[in-house]
């Protein structure tokens, strides 16, 4: 995470990561807003915002008076999210390539090398 993002987005992305990697499994309950705010030493509104956005994006669900629960997410959806994120990384690579005067084929070669280099 970069400081480009406000705190609630950093927290949101951190939780999202845990949902995608299944570290937080489907149907499990998230800590309450108050508990997490104390644990992370941030305001309750910060946590509330992070949770609200996760609800809007379809990662968790809010059950009235009970709490927040992780939703089941399909592998197709994970792939779709991954594509968007990698696309952003590629745009960054493109910008850097331009700055360092690398051609498209230079980049393709680099990418190929790294992909085979597992």
């Amino acid at each position: 995470m970069t400081s480009k993002d406000p705190l609630y987005i950093q927290i949101k992305e951190e939780i999202k990561k845990k949902i995608i990697t299944k570290e937080l499994s489907a149907e499990s309950q998230l800590p309450s807003v108050r508990v997490l705010s104390k644990e992370l030493k941030v305001g309750v509104v910060t946590i509330k915002r992070a949770y609200d956005e996760l609800v809007n994006e379809g990662f968790i669900i809010s059950k009235e008076a009970i709490g927040y629960f992780v939703l089941e997410i399909s592998d197709d959806w994970i792939k779709k999210i991954g594509k968007e994120i990698i696309k952003e990384d590629i745009l960054n690579v493109k910008e850097k390539a331009k700055m360092y005067k690398l051609s498209n084929s230079d980049i393709e070669l680099l990418l190929k090398e790294e992909l085979e280099n597992e």
């Binding site: 480009k4 993002d5 609630y8 305001g43 309750v44």
Partner: protein, 285 residues
Amino acid sequence: MSEAIRIEDLVVKFDNFTLDISGLKVPKGIVLGIVGRNGAGKTTLLDAISNTNKDYYGKIYIDNNAIWEDEKKYLKSFGYVPDTLIFNPALNVRKLLEIMKKSFLDFDEQFFLKMVETLELDAKIKIGNLSHGNQKKLNIITIMALKPQVLVLDEPTEGLDPVSKNEILDLIQSYIDDEKTIIFSTHQTNELDRISDYLLFLEQGKVLMFDEKEQIVNDHYKVVMKKEQLTEEVKKSLINYQVNSFDVTGLTIDSDLVKEMHLDYVKPTIEDIMMNYLTKRGVKK
């Protein structure tokens, strides 16, 4: 949402200073930070809320109680921890506890003793001989043990070491719940920003900003641009800017400007925001 504090048309006048707050609603269950320079009006506001200064125009409600309707109820829902030691320095913690228990029937002895232990406050020595940090902590836990709905702390971490600061942050966070609200004032921007939900910026006796902290941060962009990009038109969209040898950094709320000019930006800290707003006049001179 019910409110912890509601202020209507508050005016406090001194010879050379006027605090003027037309309206303010602080929701329950949050931490509000009041920030501003020395002399911005923070203490004047707290004095009016805490009824230390009764000489003002306007209306103040605490937990929906108005002081002119029921003074007892108003004062009971409110706790104020000033920046100085509020107890007789010749007492020790044990004596203080005895006095508090006698004076206040609902003084939470269990909470008080637990906190004295957690914070490792020496109960036997005179309060006056406790360190500055421990005196501050004692002030806070004693008022907390009275369980006010609205707890106001004046500069709670001023002059403390990092460990003590952290203990006070923990105290604040463990106190609030859906019904209890904490308000603190500070002239520094520091780790207190992190735990606050709302921020009230005061400047020269007026409200410069009052909003959810995340909203304030979200609305602002700390941008970097080349000197050539800083046209008169662009200057108008910047709250403030600083020119250095290589480029220009500035603060703006104009998201269109950021997009159209493809500006590099980061999200500002509260300190960034405060500095940019407060040094504005200096730059324009």
